[in-house]
C-alpha cells in the first residue's frame, strides 16, 4: 500500500550510503550529514506533529538534552552510556512536557512547548558552572578516527532507523490511534483510546530519536552553546521541514529536508546573508500554496502515489477565500 513511498525512501538511502564511496569531500559530506540529521529530526517530529497532529514547536528541547547529556556526562562516564543517559533524560523531559502540554489544545499547546524549551535554554545559559553557560561546553568526539565518514554513516543509519520506525507506526494500531487523535480526539476516546497515554508514547519515541540526533550533532561539532541547541529557530526548523515535505506522510520529512536543506545551502553560498529571508519567503509560500506539503499534494494529485492516509492539514479547506460562514468556536485552552 505505501509501497511507492517506501521504494523511493529505499532508493534515497541507497544513494546516500554509496556517496562516500565516490566522494570524499568533507564539506560535501557534512552538508549531507546535516540534511539527514534534520531528516531524522523531522521523522521524529512527524510522529507527534504529523501523525498525531500535535504541532510541537519545542522539539529542540529533546535535541538539546541529548546533546548536553553527552557533553556533561562524558567526562565521568564513557560516551556511549552518556548518550543513553541523554536519551533517558530526554524521555523524562518528554514525560513532563507532555503531561502538561497535551492537556492543552490548539495554540495553547504550541505555546506550552515553546515555553518549556525556552526554560531549558535559559537554564543552560544561567548555570555556567554546570553547563558552561553562554560560552558553551565541549563535546567528545564519538569517532576520533575517520571522522567525517563515520559520522556520516551514523547519521544515515539513524535516519534509516527513524524511517523504519515511522513505517512500522503507520501500519500498526498505534499509528491508527495517532491519526484518530489527530482527526478527532473525542471520537478516539469514544472507542476506547486512552488518548493521553498514546500521545505520551508518541512523544517518548520522538524524544528518544531527537536526543540521539542531538548527541550525534554535538559530537561532530565538538562544542555546543545553549542558543544553538535549544533555540526556537531550531524547533521551527525541525517542524518546518516535515511540513514542507508533507506532515503525516512517510516520505514527507525526508523530502522536506532534502529540498529545504539543499536550498538553504545553495542560498547560503549565493546570497550569503539573505538566506533567512529566502527561508522566510519559502515558509510563506508553502503555507499559502502547499499546505499539505510536497508529498501530501502529490498524494492527492497522483493516484498511483496515493492510498496512505493523507496529511492532517488536508482536513482544513485548501487555501482560497476564507469561508466566513464557518462558525468558529472559541478555542478552549483545555480539553474540558
Amino acid at each position: 500500500m505505501k509501497r511507492p513511498q517506501v521504494m523511493i525512501g529505499a532508493v534515497i538511502f541507497l544513494v546516500a550510503l554509496l556517496i562516500p564511496v565516490f566522494l570524499r569531500n568533507d564539506y560535501f559530506l557534512q552538508v549531507i550529514f546535516r540534511l539527514f540529521l534534520f531528516a531524522s529530526l523531522g521523522l521524529a517530529w512527524n510522529l507527534v506533529g504529523g501523525y498525531a497532529g500535535q504541532l510541537s514547536l519545542g522539539h529542540a528541547a529533546y535535541f538539546g538534552v541529548g546533546a548536553y547529556g553527552l557533553a556533561l556526562l562524558s567526562p565521568s562516564i564513557s560516551p556511549l552510556p552518556a548518550i543513553v543517559a541523554g536519551v533517558v533524560l530526554a524521555m523524562i523531559s518528554a514525560l513532563i512536557i507532555g503531561s502538561v502540554s497535551f492537556r492543552l489544545r490548539g495554540p495553547y499547546f504550541c505555546l506550552a512547548t515553546i515555553a518549556f524549551t525556552e526554560v531549558l535554554r535559559l537554564i543552560a545559559k544561567n548555570l555556567p558552572n554546570v553547563t558552561g553557560g553562554d560560552v558553551g561546553t565541549p563535546v567528545p568526539s564519538l569517532f576520533p578516527r575517520n571522522t567525517m565518514v563515520s559520522f556520516y554513516y551514523a547519521c544515515v543509519g539513524l535516519t534509516i532507523v527513524a524511517f523504519a520506525l515511522s513505517y512500522w507506526v503507520e501500519r500498526s494500531r498505534f499509528g491508527y490511534y495517532l491519526m484518530a487523535i489527530r482527526e478527532d480526539e473525542d471520537t478516539a476516546l469514544s472507542v476506547g483510546v486512552n488518548t493521553a497515554r498514546v500521545k505520551l508514547w508518541a512523544l517518548l519515541l520522538s524524544a528518544a530519536i531527537s536526543a540521539l540526533a542531538g548527541a550525534l550533532y554535538a559530537s561532530l561539532f565538538l562544542f555546543i552553546v545553549p542558543d544553538q541547541m535549544f533555540g526556537v529557530e531550531v524547533s521551527v526548523e525541525i517542524a518546518i521541514l516535515p511540513m514542507l515535505g508533507g506532515a503525516g506522510t512517510l516520505l514527507g520529512p525526508l523530502v522536506g529536508s532534502l529540498v529545504l536543506e539543499t536550498a538553504s545551502e545553495v542560498f547560503k553560498n549565493i546570497f550569503k546573508e539573505a538566506h533567512l529571508l529566502i527561508y522566510g519567503v519559502l515558509v510563506v509560500l508553502v503555507v499559502l500554496f502547499l499546505p499539505e506539503g510536497i508529498v501530501g499534494t502529490l498524494m492527492r494529485k497522483l493516484s498511483w502515489f496515493k492510498s496512505a492516509p493523507p496529511t492532517p492539514f488536508a482536513s482544513t479547506p485548501s487555501p482560497g477565500p476564507v469561508e466566513e460562514s464557518k462558525r468558529v468556536p472559541l478555542p478552549q485552552p483545555t480539553s474540558e
Binding site: R171, S172, R173, Y176, Y177, M179, A180, E183, D184, D186, T187, A188, L189, S190, V191, G192, V193, N194, T195, P309, P310, T311, P312, A314, S315
Partner: protein, 245 residues
Amino acid sequence: MALLEIKNVSKRFGGLKAVSDVSMSIETGEIAFIVGPNGAGKTTLFNLITGVHQADAGQILFDGHDITRLSPDRAAKLGIGRTFQIVKPLRNLTVLENTMLGAFLHTSSPAVAEREAAKVLQFLGMTKAMHLPARGMGLPMMKRLEIARALATKPKLILLDEVVAGLPTSEALKLADLLKRLPEWGIAAIGGVEHVMQVVMKIADLVVVLDHGVKIAEGKPQDVVHRPEVIEAYLGPKYKELLKK
C-alpha cells in the same frame, strides 16, 4: 439486575441545574429512549453516562461496575458504545478505516481489524462505500458510519445520540428497522436520545421523558405519549387545558 442503572443523578453548569435527581434503568434486551423538549437535559444525561461530564451527585452503574467517575475511553472498554449527534467521522480516512478504529479495541492487528470492520459494514449495508473517504458523504451514510464505528467495538450497550436527526423520514425509518436488528450483533441493550417521535414509537420498549432536567414520565411509548404532563412539557400549559376539556 439492570444492565444500566442511573440513580439520583444531578449535574449543574454554573447556575443552571441541567439534570436534577434523575433515576432510570435499562434492562438487557431493551430499547430505551430519553425524550423531551429542547433544553430538557437529555444530552447532558447522555454525556454523564458516557463519561464526557462527571455527575455532581448520584451513581451510575453498568453491568455491575460503578461508572460514575469513568472517562469516556474506560467506559468504551467496559462495553458502552456511543454515536455522536454531530457526526464525528475521521474525515481523512476511509469508511473502512473509520470502522477499523472501533475494531481495534479488541485486536492490535490491522488485518484482523479490517476483517471485523468489513463484517460490520456488511451488516449495515455499507460494503460498497467501504473504500470511500469519510468526508463528503451524505448524512445518512455518516450516521450509519457512526453506528458502524460503535458496533465495531462490540459493545454490550450502545447509546445513540439523536441518531436520526436531520434525516428525511424515509431514511429515519429505515435506520430504525436496522436498529431493531442490532441484537443480532450481540448488543444487549440500546439506549438513546431522540427527538423524532416516529422512530421512538416504532421501536422503543421504554420511554423516559425529561423536562428542565427532571424526569416527568416513564413507561411504554403508547402510555407515556398521552400523559398530560408530557404534552404540557412539549406544547405548553394551554394544551393541557384543552385536553382536560
